[in-house]
Structures are given as C-alpha cells and as structure tokens.
Amino acid sequence: MSAAEPGLTVALVGNPNTGKSTLFNALTGLRQRVGNYPGVTVARKSGQCDCGDGTKVELIDLPGLYSLSAASPDEQVVIDALSGHLAEDRRPDAVVVVIDATNLLRNLFLASQLSELDIPVVLVLNQADVATEQGLKIDTELLSRRLGGVPVVLSSAWKGEGISAVRRAIGEALRARVRMPAVEWPALVEEALADVATGVATDIGRAPGRADVERLLFDSTTSVGQRLGWASARRDVVIRAARDKVRRAGYNPLAAEPLIHYARLRKLLEGVVQGGGDRTGGSAAVDQVLLHRFLGPVLFLGIMLGFFGSVFWLAKFPMEWIQAGVDWTKTVVAPPLDAYPMLQSLLADGIIGGVGAFLVFLPQILILFLFIGILEDSGYMARAAFIMDRLFSWCGLNGKSFVPLLSGFACAIPSLLSTRTIEDPKARLATAFVVPFMSCSARFPVYALMCAAFIAPGWQPVVMIGMHCVGLLFAVPTAFVLTRLVLKVKPQPFVLELPRYQMPKPRDVLWRMWQNAAEFVSKAGTVIFAITIIVWALSYFPRDAAVAERVKAANPSVAEAVVTAKIQAAYVEQSYMGRFGKAIQPAFDPLGFDWKITVGVLASFPAREVIVSTLGVTYSVGEGAKADSQHLRQAMKDAKWQEGPRVGKPIFSLAAVLSLMVFFALCSQCGPTIATLAQETGGWKWAAASFVYMTALAWIVSALLYQTVIRLS
C-alpha cells in the first residue's frame, strides 16, 4: 500500500452488523490484503474490485460506526480516512454505505452525515432477503430520486445477490459523482456554523472543511481543533458563542445534529418503505432463552464448556494424522544421514521434532478460531458482553473490555491493541494489564500436550477449561484492585447494540479460519523454526567424546542399548542448554520442575509455543536420534528423576503437570506481549510491573499447588 497509487479508491462504511465485511468479501472475491493504520487497532483491509465496466478500484473496508462524531481513536480513524486526513491514504473517490435494509432510518443517519464530507455516495441496502421476509417493500427508485440521484441498490451479500448491481453502482458513482444532499439547517444554526468557520480561518489562516466545522460545533469532545492547530483559548470562545446561537434557534447544540438529521430523514423516507412486520421478533424469541435470568448464564457456561470439549475431541483425529506425518518424515529423513550424526540430529530431532511438535496443534487452533468466529458473526458475542457486563463494572471496567479480553484468548497482542476502543485511559490501562491473564492460544499446545499425555480422557476438557479459568480467577481480583484502589477508574458508560441473530456465513468464517491457519503455519515455518534450531544447537553442543567414555566406564556390565541411552542423556546434560537449566533449576524445584522443563519455560520467552518444541528437542535429543523416536508424550511419561530427593519417581507426576500448566497460565513470559504492553501504556513502567507481578504470582501459586498435590497423592 503506497500513497502514490494512481488507481481509484472506494471506502466501505456502515453501521456494525450490516454485513459490510461479507459484502467486501463478495466484491473483492477474497483478493484482499490486510495492513496497518498506525496508532489504532483497526486493520486496513483493502482489496481489488471490478466495477463491471472494466474499471478496477481499490476497495477499503473501514470499521463499522454509528455516527461521525467519533468516541474513540478507532472510530476517529474512519473519519480521518474518509476526509483524507490520514498520512498514507488519499481521500477516497467514493463511499459505499452499507445499510441494514430492515432498519433504514437509523442506518441512514450515518449516510446523512456524509453529506458534510462532499464525497460521492452509493447506498447499498444489504440484508434485503431479511427485509423481504419481514414483508418490507422498499422503493429504491423513489429514495434515489429524493436523494438527488444517489445510487440506491438492494443486495443480500451473503446470498451473493445484488453484487453486480453494487459494482455497477460504484462505477456510476465514480462517473456521475453525486453527493448526499446537504442538510438544510435552520437559519441560526447555519449562521453558527459560518461563525465557527470564520473563527477557524482567521485564527489559523486556512478555511476549514465543512465536516471539521460541524464536528467542532456539534461534538462535545473532538480532536479536530487540535488537528487544525487551533489554540484552545480562542477555540472555546468562538465555539461557545456559536453554540449560544444554536440555542437561540431552539436546539441544544449537542443534540442538534441528530434531531435535525432524523427529522429530515423521516421526511425523506415517507412512502419509501411499506409493509413490514415484527422486526425484532425472531431474535427476541431466542433471547428469551439465551438471556433468561437463570438459563442465560447457565447456557453461557454450557456453550463455553461444550466448545472446549469439542475442540479437544474434534481435533483428535487430525492431530494424530499430523503426528503420524511428522513421524513418517523422520523415518524418511534420518536413515540416509546415519553417517552424519550431527546433521541427522539437527534435521530429525531439531527441526522435524521441534517444529512438528508445534504443528500438531494446528487443528485445535483452527477450531478455536472457528468457534470464536461463529460466536461473533452470529451475534452471540454481544449477548455474552451483556451478561458479563455486571461483573466487568464491578471491576471498574465495562463490557467494552469484553472483546479485547476475549480476544486475548487468541493472542494478547491484537487484544492489547484493541483496547484502543476504550475511551478512558485508566480503564484502558486496567484492561491492558489484565489481558495477559487470558490464556492465549500459544499456551494451548502446552495444556493440550499435558492433558493428552497425563490426564484421563474424561477429565481433559475439564482441565482445559480449568486452566483458562485459572487465568480468569486471578484476573478478576487483579482488575478490581487495579481499578478501584490503584488507578481509581471512574465508571464507564456502556451502550451496546444487541444485533439481530444471524446465521454465520460459512464463507466468511472459513475464510478467516484459513487466514488464521496460514498465519499459524507461517509462524511455525519461520519464528518457531529458527528458535528451534537455536535451541537444538544449545542442547547438542558441546559434544565431548570424553563424556561417552565416562558413561561407558561407569556402566561396564550394562546392556548396549541402555548405555547408549545413558550416553545420550549425559550429552544433553553437558550441553549449554543443560548446564543453564541445571543451574536455574533449583529456583524452580519447589514447583516440581526438572531442568528440561525449566529450560523449556525460559526458552519460551520469545514465543510461548516454543516450550513444546523445546521439550520436543530436549527429550528427543536426550534419547538419541533414532529413526523411530517416540512421541514426545511417551518420552515424558517415561521420564524419571535421575538424582535428588525424588530419584526414581516420574518427573511428570500429576502435581508437576498441574503445576507446569498453572505456571504457564499465570506467568508473563511472552516477550512480544510485554513489548506491546510497553508500547500501549507509553512506557516500560507498567510492562515491567506486569512481568514481575505475573511471574511472581505464577511461581507462588504453582509452588503451592505442587507442594499441596504431591502431599495429597
């Protein structure tokens, strides 16, 4: 994406839940790219779209919003993008407003505001199929005429209907360039607007755009003044005077905009829509159950439980296939290299063993994202936020924190970025601080590995959920203390639309799943791959032949195979990794960790998933690069303490397994997350605090857990 692109750009805007992204996918045919807007979380989604007459335009999917008076930096980005105030993007050449055909009035408010931006517009009345089901008849011709020729098109994006009409309408808008007709403000209001414009012009020497003037007059808080470089002292005087004029016109200046726009929209829509039955009926019926006093939370828990359970057993077979594939690869790659043990080990134990151990979890990650995608698209996410809001407000947050926190279960980094939708900086900080407690998908492989190896099948889903709950368990008091005592956050307003329930569109959900999969695999292929190689090297070298001699000498009468195994184990202990791990291990002994586990935990700092590959490497390397190396799981099951007070006992006792999982759940060990936290909080203070707090908490809780469980069993 470069600023110098000569092609035409068209922006896609609209209220949330209008099927905008579905339409975007349909128009671009998945020829999309995702980029970044600096400073905000919203990704810049762009794609190529054919206008049917050969013209190709770049289509930009902007986030949904209800009004041009932005409440958060994320919403501000939309406005900046539309008015061409973004550094890298030109003003779009046209705007497509995606509208829910069943709720024209409210959806048109945004479109009506677009008249102040002086940009050609296309209105797409999406979800037309639902409108028809409700018995609505919309006269698009009439509406278009009343709007002075703005193209008005019906579509049903998820059914693929009306897409070509949308394409043609875009082409038409680019040619005819019809804008939304301007609002006729009452005389005094018009004067007030002119006063503000003059005020700005005199003070900064430049005439401001119409949109900026309206924002300055009508919005209680706006960054426009700052952006224009208008000194606040002068600004306040001019705006106060202008707002007095508006009051004389009979309107509260902060209410004038919606009052006047809606009044004109009502007139515009007279006779345009006919018929129509119960709009919220179907969803209301479902909500009777899903939001019921008692059933609601019960079902919420049930849905979450069911999800984790199904992630597990749905993923079982694919996981076994992948594991078999990994093992097969090893048997193919290893034998030809028998003459080169070092290279053989690098390939078989290091690369295949390490990366393979990570790849095996692809099915689970996929299902996780699939499920979250379905939740979002169906509209249930808003209900979940509705149910949980009470809890959030008790912690001083509000339901707005729900999505960032929930998405923390996928990955903390975009979750931290998405806290930018929260207006109050203190609430934002509190939410960001709590995000790392949400067990991110990188911890999933660890839980899954431990559960698969050591937990009885019936208990596996319970333990999986339990681990995710551990994070929550500590997140709540942390949030409470942080918001009430440390930061003293003021209560947050919370207005959230509960959208109509919709069937998630398979194409969209699967497309997102595909994107996640591609990212997961590429992460495996790149970062994990590289780290695994480093870890392998640290576990392999130095290889001193004297070690082998020593072992042979100490075991003169033991079987060949056993001696070989012992030699391998000794080699690993002597490696750099081994020495480091053994040195640190005493600090983790109260948690029941042996040095290999310790090393795995510490090695996962750059990326949490690395612990699995590290364990894969250290256990694989330790038992020799045999062509038929056992699964990591079996290796761990067989691992016993070689020395110390627990010698002979299995390392991975229940206590140790739980302790490891809990440690992983609570400790803040992900370098990129800490770096992002530092970035989002504008300094290292809070990031450092998070690291220290969470690591200490993890250590204490895991130690307590281990010591307790080991005494009970």
Partner: protein, 87 residues
C-alpha cells in the same frame, strides 16, 4: 415522569428528555432515540444490570446508572409502532 431504570420488563414508555451533555445520551440519540419516541424495556440482564431497551426497531443495552437519568412517561399499553420510518 419516571426514570427509565424504574420501568419493568415488558413495559413501554415515551421518552420525555435526555441530557445531551452526557456521552451515553449522545450515543442514544445517534441511534435514533429522540424525545417523543416510544421505547420498551425488554429485559434486565441475569445479574440485574444492564438493561435491554428496544426502540426504533433495535435493541440496545444500557446500564442501570445511565438509565436513571433518562426520563420517560410510562405508557402502559402503548405498543411500539412496528417501526415505520415515519413513526
């Protein structure tokens, strides 16, 4: 003249006044909740807070504290106009 927070689930009310100084009310107005409009309290959340109110064909969640400052006239048996844009 009652605060919205005192409506019972299933009851209707006609909005008499908002306070545009507050961001919550601004949001509601942008969504189309304007004086004179009929709304309905659909339900309260399982934990008692927030509330779900219906107006102009949409359902919106609102906190109890915010609803306390929104004044309505209780209209016991006035059904919400199956939203015509003119309504």
């Amino acid at each position: 003249m009652t605060p919205l927070s005192q409506l019972l689930p299933g009851q209707y009310g006609k909005l008499t006044s908002l306070n545009p100084e507050r961001s919550v009310d601004q949001r509601l107005m942008a969504l189309g909740l304007l004086p004179g409009m009929v709304l309905k309290l659909v339900r309260t959340a399982p934990l008692g807070d927030p509330l779900a109110i219906e107006f102009a064909g949409q359902v919106v969640s609102l906190r109890l504290t915010e609803a306390q400052n929104i004044i309505i006239d209780v209209a016991a048996d006035c059904p919400i106009q199956r939203p015509r844009p003119q309504a």
